[in-house]
């Protein structure tokens, strides 16, 4: 029940479920119940990058030349991304570390969160470089209504889970009276349900909510504008693709019952809730696109096309966790975005070449070993 930073019990961690089993004691990675998380850690470490490696001096000039409504699109997206990564830089740690039971998953959660802090630092790097007063941009994130609406949706499930787990860790299972909140039922079932919905909502956050913003960044870059920013977004997108792999695995493992049989029942019961989380998020992202383009569209993108893209990507993400796609859009309305999203052609400026090429070289070596020579794109 109450959390221990070093569980003194002797047990076989290979027999533990991902969550709500024993607290992890020895951080060992020589054996894993779910090797995928060890692989994700290694991949994420090989992706390490620093925002300062990307030169943004041309972005400042470009930004000043943008029309006012384009500046609005650019800055609003940055603010939204800042919100999302503020949440992601802490919440997997706060919500999931107290309940995780596998050493490889514990370290994946920490590695994942850490990479989000790099994303947050990159927004400071961008904002500092393009505006004179970063405070104006950052301060608006907590007062801007459009952002605030999204803040509620992205933090709600995390906060519910954290509340339940806090009660569980201090008072144990039971019905607990919480001042100003009433009776809260803490059972293994309510805990696991809150966990399942949280993971689904995080999957939506990382696999869908970022993509409107990504599309706008790359639409600027297609016009050779804000190219430093686009480089950073490519690096972020590469990380996010790993993160969504992590939550897809957690969800699929839970659904399969292979990890924890009770979790499979909960997944079954929550299926409609999860579908609703996806559909509502897609609606919110379409609304966001409307807000972005309220004073005018940009070349190659408008609210309607972005809305279709949101529907399309939502279908793709739903299919990946075995859910029926919910939207009619079956084709990518902006296929050019994939050439930007692909990590292969992250171009690096000369000053950053040393570090990045070392990393890229490592990845290539792996591919060579498996006779994948023709994989050149």
């Amino acid at each position: 029940m109450s959390y221990s930073t070093f569980n003194r019990k002797k047990f076989d961690s290979l027999q533990e479920p991902m969550f709500f089993g024993e607290n992890v004691n020895v951080a060992r990675y020589d054996q894993q119940k779910h090797p995928i998380f060890e692989k994700l850690i290694e991949k994420q470490l090989s992706f390490f990058w620093r925002p300062e490696e990307v030169d943004l001096s041309n972005d400042r000039k470009d930004f000043l030349k943008l029309e006012e409504h384009e500046q609005h699109i650019f800055l609003s997206n940055l603010k939204y991304q800042t919100l999302l990564d503020s949440v992601q830089g802490r919440s997997p740690n706060v919500a999931l570390l107290p309940i995780v039971s596998l050493p490889e998953l514990e370290t994946w959660i920490e590695t994942w969160s850490f990479s989000e802090t790099i994303h947050s630092r990159s927004y400071t790097h961008i904002i500092r470089n393009i505006v004179n007063d970063p405070t104006k941009v950052f301060d608006d994130i907590v007062v801007n209504d459009e952002i605030a609406k999204r803040a509620i949706s992205v933090s709600k499930y995390y906060d519910d889970l954290i509340e339940l787990v806090n009660l569980y860790n201090t008072l144990g299972l039971g019905v607990h009276h919480v001042p100003e909140r009433g009776d809260v039922v803490v059972t293994m079932k309510t805990l696991k349900k809150a966990l399942y919905l949280t993971i689904a909502s995080v999957n939506v956050l990382e696999a869908i909510r970022f993509y409107v913003s990504f599309a706008c960044s790359f639409a600027f870059a297609e016009r050779t504008l804000m190219e430093g920013n686009a480089k950073i977004i490519k690096l972020i997108a590469r990380d996010e693709a790993l993160h969504l792999n992590g939550t897809q695995h957690m969800l699929n493992l839970m659904m399969s019952g292979r990890d924890d049989p009770e979790m499979a029942e909960i997944a079954q019961e929550c299926q409609q809730d999860v579908i609703n989380i996806f559909v509502e998020a897609a609606q919110q992202e379409r609304d966001w696109a409307q807000y972005l383009f309220k004073d005018g569209s940009m070349i190659g993108l408008n609210a309607q096309i972005l809305g279709q893209y949101v529907e399309y990507i939502t279908n793709v993400r739903m299919q990946a966790i075995g859910l029926e796609p919910q939207f009619a859009t079956k084709n990518n309305p902006i296929p050019w975005i994939n050439a930007w999203l692909v990590s292969d052609n992250v171009q690096v400026a000369p000053q950053e070449a040393e570090i990045s090429s070392y990393l890229v070289g490592q990845i290539d070596n792996d591919l060579d070993g498996a006779d994948f020579d023709d994989f050149d794109l």
């Binding site: 991949k43 897809q248 699929n252 793709v316 990590s343 792996d366």
Partner: protein, 96 residues
């Protein structure tokens, strides 16, 4: 559905048919399905092209594919990752 193949038997030039709706595309085992579909003018979703993002997942209705390296993405049965799967027999696929 999937079997690992060793590097030595990797050179065969077998050509297989890929059925997609009313279309039929001929592919080899020399490279993954994705670039071959692209050359045939078929738009397939992708992101990482390395087996970890699951964006390129499509339905594999029947037939056999294999993965020279086990991909990081979760692949449900009845689906395949086009970016890293080698087609090993005639297959039928379907998009979203």
């Amino acid at each position: 559905m999937t079997t690992l193949i060793s590097n030595t038997e990797h050179q065969d030039r077998d050509v297989h048919r890929v059925l997609l709706g009313k279309k039929q595309i001929l592919v080899t085992e020399d490279e993954p399905l994705l670039p071959q579909l692209e050359r045939a003018g078929i738009q397939v979703e992708y992101q990482c092209r390395e087996g970890y993002c699951s964006s390129c997942m499509i339905k594999l209705l029947w037939g056999k594919v294999s993965y020279p390296i086990e991909p990081l993405a979760w692949v449900n049965s009845g689906y395949m990752l086009t970016c890293c799967a080698i087609v090993k027999s005639d297959i039928e696929i379907a998009m979203l």
